[in-house]
Subunit: 133 residues, 2 copies
DNA sequence: CGGTATCCCAACCGATACTG
DNA sequence: CAGTATCGGTTGGGATACCG
């Protein structure tokens, strides 16, 4: 029998919708780009490869844990390359991959919109907050 | 005296860096766009105004709480308008504002990149995960 | 130098129940 | 119909300490 309660059917619909959302390339990209330190890391690497330590000093607000995790995720996605530079002491170079570099124009579009419209957003927020409750 | 310990100086640097990151328009936009339900809500509203109930049925995976919170944040940012439609029972129309509509081309660029490159990302992830640990 | 490992708090988010 | 309120589990992310 395919008899199901209304609650069961709703749960199934919810689940399949959630799966589609999770699988959607746009949502996956927005999710990644929305990670707290991803935008700024890509921005810095856009200017050229950097050592791990240089990245740390460039983004002192990011904890070591978060910086490393961010870089690992980007590496796993094929957007960033990680290269160990032999020597004493050893160094590690991070750089955008060719794929990662194709993201720069996208980020530029986002930055362009943001800088052009941030004042409008702030104005809207002030109006909203000042609104009679 | 301006004497400070090294730890104090590092803490100050971290704090000012954090403030700059939080104030950066690009980061603020990425943060908003990265919210779990923002992309999909904007996508649906891009096709025209929708009643609250229509949005709920369009995105059954989002809980009522999250859908409402998402819409409130977008309304506060001036990206979405909320219009109560009198009647019995009352209805509420949600729509992109003119400002919100200017975000659609940006979202289209993101979607374009994502759909064009999602296969490369998935391939990179498989390679990374299959890599000798 | 470039990381891991661990702990812990805060924010996020869903489920459920209730309301004008 | 379109919410609000509350609770509780899960995740994100920082601090600290330690390691090759």
């Amino acid at each position: 029998m395919t008899t199901r309660t209304a609650a069961q059917r709703r749960a199934e619909v919810r689940k399949s919708c959630l799966e589609r959302v999770a699988a959607c390339p746009t949502n996956r990209l927005l999710d990644r780009m929305g990670d707290k330190w991803v935008g700024i890391v890509i921005k810095f690497l856009g200017d050229g490869p950097l050592r791990y330590g240089e990245l740390r000093r460039s983004i002192p607000a990011a904890s070591q844990k978060m910086l490393t995790e961010t870089l690992r995720r980007l590496e796993r996605d094929g957007l960033v390359s990680r290269t160990v530079v032999p020597g004493a002491p050893v160094g590690v170079d991070y750089a955008l991959t060719p794929l990662g570099r194709t993201l720069l124009p996208v980020l530029a579009v986002v930055t362009g919109w943001a800088e052009e419209n941030i004042a409008r957003i702030e104005h809207a927020q002030e109006e909203y907050d000042a609104r009679p409750r």
